[in-house]
């Protein structure tokens, strides 16, 4: 093997390995199911705290729509966005348990 070929093969091998491990690979229906379930669970928790956001519901709906269209990359991305929104609403509800008094007229 020539001295030029050896590093080239190494670069190709590394690139292939990185590509395999990278999140850039196409998402599957199973990936979507996992991501969507996590988002739904977080939103349910926000519901128990009586503090769901309309944007979480809308993002969950768009995730479902993308999955129905077979676009699992978009579906997973939207599910993750929905989960982040739901977690933010949970944080807000917990933080406001005491912080509401800061605004009170006294």
């Amino acid at each position: 093997m020539s001295s030029i070929m050896r590093p080239l093969i190494a670069v190709v091998a590394v690139t292939a390995a990185v590509a395999a491990a990278s999140p850039l690979h196409a998402a599957s229906e199973a990936d979507f199911s996992v991501a969507y379930a996590a988002a739904e669970a977080a939103n349910k928790q926000a519901g128990a705290l009586r503090n769901q956001w309309t944007t979480t519901a809308a993002t969950l709906a768009s995730a479902k729509k993308a999955a129905a269209e077979g676009n699992f990359d978009a579906a997973v991305a939207a599910s993750k966005d929905a989960e982040a929104l739901a977690k933010a609403s949970i944080y807000q509800a917990n933080e406001q348990k005491d912080a509401w008094r800061e605004m009170e007229i006294k």
Binding site: W53, Q92, A99, W100, M103
Partner: protein, 292 residues
């Protein structure tokens, strides 16, 4: 000598310990006093806040919401009152109110004073059921008790009925009572907590708009002060192209800040109405009203 010194140190430590306990007790005492609900003090502070913020607005004028905020808006309100857009709702409500149910009874049988001139007493705390009863809820309870299906809480029939009942109560000061019942005080506190709690993706509380920013514009809308905000309910809103109840106002406020609204007449909304009405005690009923 050494024994005496040891004794002094012992006494000093005991005194320090006792002083520490006294200080701690005083601290805990003041903390719990600060958190003890005091609705009367809340209502006084609430009124003072708004009258200080808007010294030119008469106390009773706060019930006109955004129209009380400056002279130009006040003129708009006066012009609107010449041909009030809620007039049809009052007429419809009057007709509905006097029409008997299938069993021959009517709304008048469900309310004190036949339902005339009683708006200022709602919501009240029902000590039997342990919950706040709003006028909207009382109307639907009346219907169901007489074998009639309940109305939607947000508009149409419910808005017409409450418009008529408010109209017969105009000028009467809000007279919301908190009975000597810990559950009533808890309902009041729960309403207060809801009012000041930030929610929704916009991270707004009711107070963000109606305490911190009354008189300011949010897009084209002039925000109403929280003081007297329920006295003019139900309202005709140009934005809705129709009438809306207190339930409609609460749920749409939540949607606007990107919070999923609760169901109309859920406990939180009933408690919120209880709190907001109580702190406006003494201000006249001005409903039905008209808003931009």
């Amino acid at each position: 000598m050494g024994g005496r010194r040891r004794g002094d140190i012992g006494v000093r430590s005991a005194i320090r310990f006792a002083l520490g306990i006294v200080a701690l007790a005083a601290l805990l005492g003041s903390a719990s006093a600060a958190e003890t609900p005091n609705p009367a003090a809340d209502a006084a502070a609430f009124k003072k806040f708004f009258t200080d913020k808007f010294p030119k607005v008469k106390l009773e004028d706060f019930v006109n919401g955004p129209y009380s905020m400056d002279e130009g808006l006040h003129r708009q309100w006066q012009e609107k009152e010449q041909f009030p857009p809620y007039e049809f709702a009052v007429e419809t409500g009057k007709e509905m109110f006097s029409k008997p149910f299938k069993n021959g009874k009517s709304y008048a049988d469900c309310f004190p004073n036949q339902g005339i001139g009683v708006r200022q007493d709602y919501p009240y705390f029902d000590t039997k059921g342990g919950k706040v009863i709003t006028l909207e809820l009382a109307l639907n309870q009346c219907r169901e008790a007489n074998g009639e299906p309940p109305f939607s809480y947000v508009k149409d029939e419910m808005a017409a009925l409450t418009a008529y009942m408010a109209f017969t109560s105009r000028g009467k000061p809000f007279d919301i009572k908190i009975p000597d019942d810990p559950r009533a005080l808890e309902a009041y506190e729960s309403g207060k907590r809801y009012f000041y709690t930030r929610r929704g993706q916009l991270n707004f509380s009711c107070a963000t708009c109606h305490v911190q920013s009354p008189g300011e514009r949010i897009r084209a809308e002039v925000l109403a002060p929280a003081l007297g905000i329920l006295n003019a309910m139900p309202i005709y809103r140009s934005e809705w192209s129709g009438m809306g109840t207190t339930s409609r106002r609460f749920t749409t406020c939540n949607s606007q800040i990107r919070a999923v609204p609760l169901d109309p007449q859920d406990d939180e909304y009933r408690d919120l109405e209880y709190y907001l009405s109580y702190v406006s005690n003494g201000l006249p009923i001005a409903g039905p009203g008209a808003r931009p």
